[in-house]
């Protein structure tokens, strides 16, 4: 482990911020306090954190319907996120967007997305803008195994490679698109194999190992910054919850879930940190306690914030 303590502890902190944020949403959704529907990122924290820890604030990401983890990993403000998910006027998008539509352009968060496969072309465009403006900024496109089958995704891979655009396609392969297992929606086992069709590197990593993700995406980001074009990094992972909160999840078995829960990315990282002497168990407990406080404050902010005024309905349709 060649990284500094600072980076490592930051990654650990961010994973915990995501874990606790999502657990809180799970609880408040079940209590009927959150409108609409939410797709939780529990179990997949290592992907967002490993990937986004390779970026600076000037770099961008495009996210998905399961976007909370990506946004937090890119530095999203927990209070503003929580308020948005609760539909409050103080939220990131003034309550207009909700869970599936949170963005922070100052942080390079080009938006969660309600359209599966919607992010690929946008990420390609953001990378095109970087190349056009001759910056060395990079864009990460997060997308699922299901999304990898959309034409928009494949078209993006092709054009980004043909034009050598600075984008990294981070595939979160959690094995399912809603109820549809990967084996029924595609003939390949490794989505990374598809990279060959576009003559770009395709890499498979353990998506529950934050350092493995960080290494692989780090390489890809360097390559993109050098102007050598995109990489497809496939992270094998698993979502602990149903597709959305309320999904009975009848299409997968408990053994499979238990197998993956045993590969929980947070304790795995914790062990590494302690074993390598980079942090003590007490320090890590301290991190968790601090995150818990931060989340309580975010929740308090969201709950005490006002709902939007009806007069806001027609605002922001045009610039």
């Amino acid at each position: 482990m060649s990284h500094s303590k600072e980076i490592m502890v930051k990654m650990y902190t961010t994973m915990n911020r995501i874990r606790m944020f999502e657990s809180m949403l799970q609880e408040y959704f079940a209590a009927g306090k959150i409108p609409g529907f939410v797709h939780l990122y529990l179990g997949e924290e290592a992907v967002a954190v490993g990937a986004c820890s390779c970026l600076t604030d000037r770099d961008s990401i495009t996210s998905t319907h399961r976007g909370h983890g990506h946004l937090i990993a890119k530095g999203g403000d927990l209070k503003l996120m929580m308020a948005e998910i609760f539909g409050k006027s103080t939220g990131y998008c003034k309550g207009k967007g909700g869970s599936m539509h949170i963005a922070d352009f100052d942080l390079g968060i080009l938006g969660a997305n309600g359209i599966v496969g919607g992010g690929g072309p946008l990420a390609t465009g953001a990378a095109l803008a970087a190349k056009y403006k001759k910056t060395d900024d990079v864009t990460i496109c997060f997308f699922g195994d299901g999304a990898s089958n959309q034409g928009t995704t494949q078209e993006s891979l092709n054009m980004a490679s043909a034009w050598k655009l600075p984008v990294v396609f981070v595939n979160e392969n959690n094995g399912y698109g809603i109820s549809c297992p990967q084996c029924k929606s595609m003939a390949v086992t490794d989505i990374a194999d598809r990279a060959a069709a576009y003559d770009m590197p395709g890499v498979v990593v353990d998506g529950n190992d934050v350092l493995a993700v960080h290494e692989a995406v780090g390489e890809a980001v360097k390559r993109a910054r050098r102007g050598e074009g995109p990489t497809l990094v496939e992270c094998k992972t698993y979502r602990w919850r149903g597709h959305f909160e309320g999904d009975a999840c009848t299409y997968r078995c408990t053994e499979e879930l238990n197998e993956w829960m045993a590969k929980d990315p947070i304790p795995r990282f914790e062990e590494k940190l302690v074993e390598s002497g980079l942090a003590t168990a007490e320090e890590l407990e301290g991190v968790k306690a601090a995150v818990k406080k931060e989340l309580d404050a975010a929740l308090e902010f969201a709950q005490s914030s006002p709902l939007p005024e009806l007069s806001a309905l027609l605002d922001d349709v045009y610039a």
Partner: protein
């Protein structure tokens, strides 16, 4: 007659047509064991097997295009998109391919497919999962557009849509799935392009579609107490549009309010208003009024979403303003 929900009525229509005609099959995302995003295809996988109830990858473009291709090759596919909003991903296959094949190829092709899509706001699903897009489809020669409002209509119209030799866009409202009504056990077909008068009246015609039919009926109850009699006309299909029934009603009442959940500007009501203005202008005692969604995407936060969705109160207000 048995009471059934709109959802059960659709399910029954699918089952009965599949039973009757081997060339009918279903394709879409999670339509198999999972039973469809809202549950419309529940039980059909177990009954007809994966050979006829097909879970596709997430690939709307191919769902629509493969339905068109299979239809042109002699089958009768019923394709489902989880939300109408996803048609954006697949539009070319619908309007440049499915809709135009017959005409472009000089009448040689037949494309007997149905594309079922739920639309509408009201479940906090925000801007990309809540739209009402019927106006897009009515603008395309070659398509038919069905938009049933009751369980009875849903079943009979879906059966007709499946038997129709043209591509039929079948628009369901997600808040109607749980609505109950009388639905006969046996199979029956409701001709596409025939409006239905959901309530007879004498003072004002309200042409309403989909969920707004129920709002119009509610408004009619409220206004009846004030001695105002609404006639509620449900076109049921927007393409072909039964202008005859609408015009007859307007000639009787001399006043027209059009109610739909789609955005008002260039919405389906624009065509209905134009038809009436062209063909029955002399009968109108007041300007035509539209009750529709405001010109913005569907907002997430519940109070904003509720303010976005037109309802019975808006129809009542519109009718009162006429007089």
């Amino acid at each position: 007659m048995a009471k059934k929900t709109y959802l059960q009525a659709l399910n029954e229509a699918l089952a009965q047509e599949m039973e009757k005609d081997q060339s009918v099959f279903i394709l879409g995302e999670d339509v198999g064991q999972f039973g469809g995003c809202f549950g419309v295809t529940q039980g059909l996988f177990d009954r007809f097997g994966e050979g006829r109830v097909m879970d596709t990858p997430i690939t709307e473009s191919v769902i629509v295009g493969a339905a068109a291709g299979a239809a042109a090759s002699g089958l009768r596919p019923v394709a489902e998109l989880m939300f109408v909003d996803f048609i954006g991903v697949a539009l070319d296959q619908l309007f440049n391919q499915a809709a135009k094949m017959r005409y472009m190829f000089g009448g040689k092709a037949k494309v007997p497919m149905v594309l079922r899509m739920p639309q509408g706001a009201g479940i906090g699903a925000a801007a990309q999962h809540s739209q009402s897009l019927e106006a897009w489809f009515m603008h395309i020669p070659g398509l038919k557009v069905a938009i049933p409002s009751t369980p009875y209509d849903a079943k009979g119209m879906l059966i007709s849509a499946i038997r129709d030799d043209n591509p039929v866009v079948f628009l369901e409202h997600k808040l109607l799935y749980g609505v109950e009504g009388d639905v006969p056990e046996e199979s029956y077909a409701i001709e596409l392009g025939k409006a239905d008068i959901k309530r007879e009246g004498t003072d004002v015609t309200v042409v309403a579609t989909s969920r707004m039919v129920h709002s119009a009926l509610e408004a009619a109850e409220i206004l009846a107490k004030d001695g105002i009699s609404l006639e509620v006309v449900d076109p049921r299909c927007l393409l072909p549009l039964d202008t005859g029934t609408i015009l007859d009603s307007v000639r009787k009442t001399h006043a027209l309010v059009i109610a739909h959940e789609a955005v008002g500007f260039a919405g389906p009501g624009a065509e209905i208003a134009a038809q009436v203005a062209e063909k029955a202008f002399d009968y109108l005692d007041a300007p035509i009024t539209r009750v529709a969604a405001p010109f913005c995407p569907v907002p997430f936060s519940p109070p904003l979403e509720q303010a976005f969705i037109p309802g019975a109160g808006d129809i009542v207000k519109a009718v009162r303003a006429l007089r």
